[in-house]
Amino acid sequence: MNTSLILQNVLTPPVLFFFLGGLAVFLKSDLEIPSPLPKLFSLYLLLAIGFKGGLELHQSGFDGPVIPTILAAIIMSLLIPLICFFILRIKLNVFNSAAIAAAYGSISAVTFITAESFLYSQNIPFDGFMVAALAIMESPAIIVGLLLVKIAAPKERPAERVMKWREILHESMLNGSVYLLLGSLLIGFLTGAFNPSGVEKMQPFTGNLFYGVECFFLLDMGIVAAQRLPSLKKAGSFLIGFAVAMPLFNALIGVLVARALDLGPGNALLFVVLCASASYLAVPTAMRMTVPEAKSSYYISTTLGLTFPFNIVIGIPVYMGLVNRLIPATA
């Protein structure tokens, strides 16, 4: 059954374009999407996800499963980095462990989108408020990561580099992509509440266009991910194993929490994907600034070179299978 889900997932345009991009690198085609075009897509996707999420949050209100789900999401993004940290410390130093842990505690918006597309193509309903969970899971993981550095490695850093709370909060909340996502969420919410004609006029841009831009961006992500593979090989088998096993483990915790929250299968899948995915936007940027001792090739090649493709291609349908098995469809 899972193989049929995997096949159904693979044969959608976003995943196919992702393959096309990756294949271009393996075949040494000179296909290239020059900078800053990927940034355009990335900004657009964050803006559009946020805006749509805010709209739907306004429609759904804060009743029912909304608050519990968001709280659970926050707890997951505090808990997962701690688990990851202790596993990573087996082989890596404090700086690298904390940076990678933060990335896995945080989320990947594009993985989330791809999961949404998957649910659409399977005709499984889900709720817009899940985007709020998405937006809110970025910061806590960064905070945990930086705290781990602050606590575990105070002596290894020169005096002027002792981390300040102000800096930690700044990096976790005001990171460009976190800020745009949260801001657009708020704007979507306000627009839904006060300016219904604005909602309609945004729809062709944030709504109709979305799927196509997603495909275009995944084409680029395929190229980027494939170019990270060589440095993943250098990173060694411990990190390679981590980049596949950790998402599966996090997904398992996620599905149990989703079950406890009584989420329907659509929302449950999205919740699981949030737990299983790892950040390659907000977290790496924050870590580069605040923990330059960590090797960026480690947290980039694991999240982007392996976990991201794994989730996009195999993870989502596997997690769906997990959800179907563990959560009764009547929820």
Binding site: P36, P38, D220, L281, P284, S296
Partner: protein, 93 residues
């Protein structure tokens, strides 16, 4: 006069420019979106969208005495975050 070439990650650009201003350079020129490889890192164009950014290449034409001041404030940044700084001779046209 001297020419100073600084190459480092774009993310430290603001901090670096503040150092230059403090050292009272007469001016500077910035080229962003620069890539490269140093002893520690490979910086490639395809990662720019993540916000990790690329390198910046800063050129300063100035008198030798200003270089001393720059050195003291710039060196720690380069040591901590990586990057290179080289001086050569240059004279106004």
């Amino acid at each position: 006069m001297k020419r100073l070439d600084l190459i480092f990650s774009e993310r430290e650009l603001d901090e670096m420019l503040k150092c230059l201003e403090k050292a009272e350079v007469p001016g500077y020129t910035v080229m962003k979106h620069v890539t490269g490889r140093g002893p520690e890192r490979v910086v490639s164009e395809d990662m720019e969208f993540t916000g990790l950014g690329a390198n910046a290449h800063v050129i300063v034409f100035c008198q030798e005495e200003i270089l001393e001041r720059i050195k003291n404030s710039v060196q720690p940044i380069l040591n901590y975050y990586g990057g290179v700084a080289y001086i050569s001779e240059a004279n106004p046209l």
